[in-house]
Amino acid sequence: MLRRFLQEKSPPAVVRRLMETDAGWERDAWIELNQQLGLTGVHIPEEYGGQGFGFVELGIVLEEMGRALLCAPYFSTTVLAATAIMNTGTRAQQEVLLPPIALGEVVATLAFTEPNGRWDASGIEMNATPGDAGKFRLDGIKSFVLDGHTADLIVVAARAPGSSGEDGLSLFTTPGGAAGLTRRALKALDPTRKLARLEFNGVEAELLGELGGAAGPLTKTLTQAAACLASEMVGGAERLRVSALDYANLRMQFGRPIASFQSMKHKQADMLVDVELAKSAAYAAASAAAEDDPELPAIASLAKACASEAYLQTAINTIQIHGGIGFTWDNDTHLWFKRAKSSEVFLGDPAWHRERMLQAWGV
């Protein structure tokens, strides 16, 4: 049902229109999405206005969004920001921050990566200094921030001056339009998912959760987000795989459908193996996240690495199967290819996640 809904709301023509805009999404469509299906709140507890489901259901939603290449601030708002708030915020903070997200009224994001491009908590350099009335002042630069130039609410990771590693890290919240905050959309290789660079010059922010205690919740958020991204990626990969199969069945060369050529069959069989194995990994990661399994860090990293490679390989194969047509702008394949390429490094590349997986397993 969700699949059909997203097919209708996010056909390639709409994706192409939105990806040419600066924002990359439209508030009316976003509100409609939430009014009809309550998607933004899927894993937010009911007491905070959400649907009260868990990561398995969130994974299903993301798989479908990846399939439809939905242009919406969903990964930023629901996966990154809401999860970070749930992992970090006090009860009172959650009561304030989560309901508007669950209702689709507030678009939010998590600003943690910096121009150094590191995906671990230790890579954070931004400074947070205590300011007036229990507030903090943030100074530094965040980059690769999903929907960072359009978000209403920004959850920011920063550290106490002089601290290093996992020590001294805290999360803060600040409105998108805060004074001292300069936001610039970055030119993204994947135009369907917008990235921004945020420069903080003494931006006033409120502490989220415990001062200096954010390393754990932030790492957990990124682990859960990796599992979610794996789900999104396998949805996209499967969409491509099916589109390649459909094309091969239709396209005639040498008087027969190219699907009847043995090399095409073998390629399609290999694509099926790639996608199905990655799917199993994404499902395992979603279950582990839902159950808060101690193996989650390993399985999430496994799933992220596996889905990254399956998605990109599927995209490469899909272009190849389409031949010259597949390389044209008018053919839709490149939209998913670019998402695959960008997702490959977003939240950490496959080699990085493989190493994390081994370490999480104590190897």
């Binding site: 009847s260 069959k265 199905e276 080699a351 190493e355 190897v363």
Partner: protein, 418 residues
Amino acid sequence: MTEPNEAAVRAEARAWLEANWNAELGLAEWRGRLIDSGWGMPSWPKEWHGKGLPPAFDAVVAEEMRRVGAVGVARSGVRGLAAATLLEHGGDFHKAKFLRRILTGEDNWCQLFSEPGSGSDLAGALTRAELKDGRWVFNGQKVWTTSAHHADWGLLLARTDSNVPKHQGLSYFVLDMRQAGVEVHQLRQMNGHASFNQVFFTDAEAPAEHLVGEVGGGWAVATTTLMHERRGADGMRLWGAASERKGRIYDEERAEIATVNEPYKWYPQRAGRVDLVLERAKATGAIADPVVRQEIAKLLTLSKTAEWTARRARAAQAQGRPPGPEGSLGKLAASHVARAAARVHTAITGADAMLTGEDGPLDGVIAEILVSVPAVSIAGGTDEIQRNIIAERVLRMPKEPRSDDDRPFRDVPKNRLV
């Protein structure tokens, strides 16, 4: 008759087992009672050693048997395939003559399908069957037969007519392996093991009633055997796990299983021994090498995702959902795993990978992995055949134009016999 329900079946089986199971009996005597009771094959028809229950209850009864430690009927190896095939395609004569002795374990069976000239192309079999004076006479050669030297009976696919297209000229027989016209040779493999036989027929014979199905209808019967083989590929290995309990009946069962499993003793090595990787990497210190770590991580990813995919398929099956594509990928995925494992073992092992036997790491186990893994992508259907099957049966891609199955078999180009 009312629909059977799980609780009732479980209670009845439990009651019967409590009354009858006795670890002090001999294997033959116990199995005799079990077969007579119908609890040995609960989903078989009542007239043929079963209870006539729906297949879903097999697992319930098996659970009850495991609970008390009761030994089951013999069905490992080709026995199980023979039983399933004869139950479906055999006449009363076959069922009466063979089924019970299969279940008791008295008779051993082998499968005589593959030939040197037709590996992937089973329907291209050349072994001839001719009816002479009311008896079938066989001439030709089979290969890749497991345990033919232990077998009392063989399931034989042979050509009865070369003037029709190849699938239509085959017939299916039960062949007595203990006769002068059947010669069994062991076939040595590149890893030194000899798991298979070549079987030569020189005027080997069978009575007319050993034909299973119709003359010319052998391909359909063979397809049943192959389907059960594919379905059971994992299961068979599972049944092969002998109980570790003590007692005479368990010893007898262990001996039976050991004979069936003998040809498979290198199979764990063929599969790449992923289980040894971490331990070995720690032992050689390769675990500290970031490059090797990546290879290990890739291998574990493959192996885990293959396992999870198989679990997804089983879960779907258990819930009665239609099988998705995930059920057909296991063999191909296992190939990838094994090949990756061989690469990783080499990287971990370094110079020692040049050594084998007692000079080699783990007393030669690593070397055995390295020279056994090439079989995994061939045996039981090559990777290429697996990809064809996935493409045509799962993805429903159009078949390639074929030139061999619509003309008389005699006109199809063939291999000269080696």
